[in-house]
């Protein structure tokens, strides 16, 4: 069976094809193929089949069919689903069943979509390879010896394996775009404040957004239009705006800082060649955004600081893993947290705690906030001249599972993606070619609320690739 686009599938289902059969066939495929990939932590067989039957009934009864009618969506396991366990890839939340749906889940259900399963991820979204999951690594469907990218590796692998045409990921420093690039699909990190974070389990609140993932731009846009929108439950949610697209041709700036130390030659060549090819259709110019040189440490200080506070609530008392009770509450907390969290999570909590501590705060956290402002200003200046900014999504090709052991080496993988999170601007990864038989993603960034620009340019990339 050749995977059809979500848009085509929706037409078929709305036109009379059985949603139940469609869902059963996906579940069958997942059961058969996913043990090799490990893209799902939880498969929602029961609720998905029930939802499918309800949708078939609705269509028979002549109800109004939603924009995602019958479509299966794979949802990252840090997005709360009522009655379906939501683990964040952590032993800490192995048995946590949220009593409520995240706003995006309500929107999906309201659009007649079906949550087919909860996807694997780096524990608490901390990682770039989905190797930091308590539930084992997710393998890249294009080469099962290699990582799928992360932290939304399960969502990307599920789309690339045609387990679901659509998926939701979350992107704190590149966690949607990185696996999209590694699995050769499309992934969008929306403008900060565009998609409600209510129900997204926080890693670093000031940076992250839930983002749509799909095999092509059209499907990605379809899903984005459903999940976007103001939500009073998220105080950082913004009233929706759209950037007007001018009549003239697109002007794309390519910062030279995106090709600095750490970028593999193969990646650089592939991206540069592609941009040359694009030059025949749009204006492409090399620019400089000097503050980007500091983006990575800035990102990690802010993300870890926020994480150290966000993850404090996991003490095992009200929910989550509970081990032996200690002689006092402090010891009990230590037991539970010591057992429930993995290495990388512990490392980030400790570093973040350090960065916020008296005596270090000014040197780290406060300074990082200042650089963040500079990065935002650099982008604002660039967008006065250019419609879009482009570069590679990932500095490296998908690496082998277990290959990168040094944490700093893994952090370096985020060098191209974190600037968009620091600046709060939208960014998309679109497949632009192959190098050594492995996929390379092109990253495009737009000014705030410029998602339509990204989709428009993304379609050009799709045509050229």
């Amino acid at each position: 069976m050749l995977p059809r686009s979500a848009i085509e599938t929706r037409e078929e289902l709305a036109g009379g094809a059985s949603v139940e059969e469609y869902v059963l066939s996906l579940l069958e495929r997942i059961r058969r193929e996913d043990p090799k990939i490990n893209s799902f932590i939880t498969i929602c067989d029961g609720p998905a089949i029930e939802a499918a039957k309800a949708l078939d009934r609705k269509r028979r009864e002549g109800g109004k069919l939603g924009p995602l009618f019958g479509l299966a969506v794979a949802v990252k396991d840090n997005i709360c689903t009522k009655g379906v366990r939501t683990t964040c890839g952590s032993r800490m939340l192995e048995g946590f069943v949220p009593p409520y749906d995240a706003t995006v889940i309500r929107r999906l259900k309201g659009a007649d979509a079906i949550v087919i399963g909860k996807t694997n991820m780096d524990e608490f979204a901390m990682g770039s390879s989905t190797e930091n999951s308590y539930f084992g690594p997710t393998r890249n469907p294009l080469d099962p010896e290699r990582v799928a990218g992360g932290s939304s590796g399960g969502s990307a692998a599920a789309v690339a394996s045609a387990f679901a045409p659509l998926a939701l990921g979350s992107d704190t420093g590149g966690s949607v775009r990185c696996p999209a690039s590694f699995c050769s699909i499309v992934g969008l990190k929306p403008t900060y404040g565009t998609v409600s974070r209510y129900g997204l389990i926080s890693y670093a609140n000031s940076l992250e957004q839930i983002g749509p993932m799909a095999s092509n731009i059209g499907d990605c846009e379809l899903l984005f239009d459903v999940i976007r929108g103001y939500d009073p439950r998220d105080n950082t949610s913004l009233p929706q705006k759209r950037v007007e697209i001018g009549e003239g041709g697109l002007r794309i700036g390519v910062p030279k800082e995106f090709f600095m130390e750490g970028v593999q030659e193969a990646v650089e060549k592939c991206v540069r060649d592609f941009l040359d090819k694009m030059g025949s259709l749009v204006e492409v110019e090399e620019i400089s955004l000097p503050s980007l040189a500091y983006a990575l440490p800035t990102y990690y200080i802010i993300a870890m600081s926020e994480a150290s506070s966000n993850l404090a609530r996991y003490d095992g008392i009200r929910y989550g893993l509970r081990g032996e009770d200690g002689s006092d509450w402090n010891e009990t907390y230590c037991n539970n947290r010591g057992m429930g969290f993995g290495q990388e999570v512990k490392r980030r909590i400790i570093l973040g705690t350090y960065a916020l501590s008296a005596g270090y705060r000014n040197r780290y956290y406060i300074r990082a906030q200042k650089i963040r402002t500079l990065i935002r200003e650099d982008f604002e200046r660039a967008f006065k001249e250019f419609d879009l900014i482009a570069g590679p999504t990932m500095p490296v090709l998908p690496f082998r599972i277990g290959e990168k052991l040094d944490p700093v080496e893994v952090y370096m993988c985020d060098i191209e993606t974190v600037p968009a999170n620091l600046a709060g601007i939208p960014a998309i990864s679109v497949p632009c070619g192959m190098s050594q038989g492995l996929p390379v993603g092109l990253q495009l960034m737009a000014p705030p609320f410029g998602e339509e620009l990204l989709f428009r340019a993304g379609r050009i990339v799709e045509e050229l690739a």
Binding site: N78, I79, C80, T86, C88, L93, F96, P98, P99, Y100, A102, R197, Y198, G199, L200, I201, S202, A204, N205, S206, P232, R233, D234, N235, T236, S305, E306, S308, S309, A312, R313, D315, I317, R318, Y319, W329, N330, Y333, T353, L356, S357, A358, R361, Y365, I366
Partner: protein, 483 residues
């Protein structure tokens, strides 16, 4: 030992008890009397993925308090996270505000006048969430577990911090009473509710080390705790022992303070801006809108009582700072009671009688009509002041009107001159020695009058009695022959 100057500062936490919902979620804010853990939701329980949404009414209430305390309201305030692990914090951090590190509290500065006109300066006012309530089976020592009731978690609190402007424990208490009056007058907090107003105090002697006292549960306890702490520090200083910079815990059973932790052991709260709540802009219009809706505040009320009714400063202050008393006073005046006489009765006997009877001023038996009736009975000369006190007490206790009591018990003042002359004559005959002394000793005159009062059970008209006794004595002095 010479008196060393004392400096006391207070940090008061008051719940905004009149809010319908908690500070960041839709759970009912009124948790008192509810079964444990029934007013909770994903937000106030800090469940993964939940996000706080600030309660606009809480900010309005905070602004109202800031206006009343003459504070400068921030144009753009921010929430900060205060990070520490404790079982009463579902998120293991508290969403609060912070004056530093780029944080901006609701308001800064301001002042409040306590009785006598002394000005106590306010340092800052901030909004934060209340932690959960911890409970124990039996006592804290023999309970096998700490129980957590999250109904209180997330209730809106206002933290008001003063400068160390109070110089003795009485002033601290006066400040708290005054503040409570203002909060109640604004209708934002009912300080009568258990735990609605909580207080920490800091105190230093002779400009020396500052000691903080926590866990003070009532205004009376504030005075006690501070008095104890002054004695403790004085004794240390007298023996040349240094006062340690520390936080102490008020043990209200043993009535002593005990060391909780030294300065070096203070937690590092790792304050940073709450990323889930955007800074809140407070416009001039917003503030003006609230200012316009403010009720008359105690200080304004006091001025008006003096201006409009000619009340004495002392009475005006006492009545105006208590909302129930103010209401009672104004009702009495409206019903035609003489303001000055009414105020004397309220400030004097009414307060002490109700206290003695364990009655609230809001008790329906404390009705303005009783006071007005009483004042009129005295004014018309129907009863004496002494009888009036008795009548008031009985009227409060039995809920019978003063007039009915006077009638039923035949307490009307004896103003019949002939009758009183007979009584005086009787007293003079029984007290010959006293009569002789009374000729040149005014105190003994009073004794004779007292005897007349005793024989008439206090009903004799005091002025008339005085005149008759005086007249009789004059006649004896003038050698008028006994008829």
């Amino acid at each position: 030992m010479a008196e060393v100057p004392i400096r006391i500062g207070l940090e008061i936490h008051c719940q905004l008890t009149n809010l319908r919902t908690k500070l960041f979620c839709g759970c009912p804010a009124d948790y008192r009397g509810s079964p444990p853990n029934t007013h909770i939701c994903p937000i106030c329980m800090g469940l993964p993925g939940s996000l706080p949404s600030p309660n606009k009414k809480a900010i309005e209430d905070g602004v109202a308090v800031a206006i009343a305390l003459n504070s400068e309201i921030s144009k753009r305030m921010t929430f900060f996270r205060k990070n520490y692990f404790y079982p009463d914090l579902p998120k293991n951090f508290q969403i609060s505000q912070y004056d530093g590190g780029g944080g901006v509290p609701l308001a800064r500065g301001g002042y409040l006048h306590i009785e006598g006109g002394k000005r106590i300066r306010i340092r800052r006012i901030q909004i934060e969430e209340d932690p959960a309530k911890l409970a124990y089976e039996g006592t804290i020592d023999d309970s096998t577990a700490t129980l957590v009731d999250n109904n209180r978690a997330g209730v809106a609190l206002l933290e008001i911090v003063t400068e160390p402007d109070m110089e003795d424990p009485k002033e601290a208490r006066a400040f708290l009473e005054k503040l409570r009056g203002i909060l109640e007058c604004l209708g934002v907090s009912n300080g009568e509710l258990e735990g609605a107003m909580r207080c920490d105090a800091n105190i230093s002697l002779g400009g020396g080390t500052r000691v903080e006292i926590k866990n003070i549960s009532s205004f009376k306890e504030v005075e006690r705790a501070l008095t104890f702490e002054i004695t403790r520090q004085r004794q240390l200083l007298a023996r040349d022992i240094e006062v340690r910079r520390e936080t102490r815990h008020w043990d209200d059973v043993r009535r002593i303070t005990v060391s909780l932790r030294a300065k070096e052991e203070e937690e590092d709260y790792r304050y940073f801006p709450e990323p889930d709540i955007v800074p809140i802009e407070i416009s001039e219009d917003f503030i003006e809108g609230i200012r316009k809706r403010l009720p008359e505040l105690p200080d304004q009320r006091r001025e008006r009582y003096i201006r409009q009714f000619g009340l004495q400063e002392h009475n005006a202050e006492l009545i105006s700072s208590d909302n129930a008393l103010s209401k009672l006073f104004e009702e009495c005046v409206r019903m035609g009671g003489d303001p000055i006489e009414v105020s004397n009765w309220l400030v004097g006997d009414l307060i002490s009688f109700t206290r003695e009877l364990g009655m609230e001023l809001t008790d329906p038996r404390v009705s303005p009509s009783k006071i007005v009736e009483l004042v009129k009975l005295i004014r018309s000369g129907s009863i004496s002041t002494k009888i009036a006190k008795e009548v008031l007490m009985e009227s409060l206790r039995s809920d019978e009107s003063p007039e009915d009591i006077v009638k039923r018990r035949g307490l009307l003042k004896i103003s019949d001159e002939a009758l009183l002359r007979d009584v005086v004559e009787e007293v003079f005959t029984e007290n010959e020695k006293a009569v002789r002394e009374a000729l040149h000793d005014e105190d003994v005159v009073n004794f004779l009058i007292g005897q007349v009062m005793r024989k008439t059970k206090g009903k004799a008209d005091p002025n008339l009695t005085y005149e008759i006794v005086k007249g009789s004595l004059e006649r004896i002095k003038g050698g008028a022959p006994d008829s």
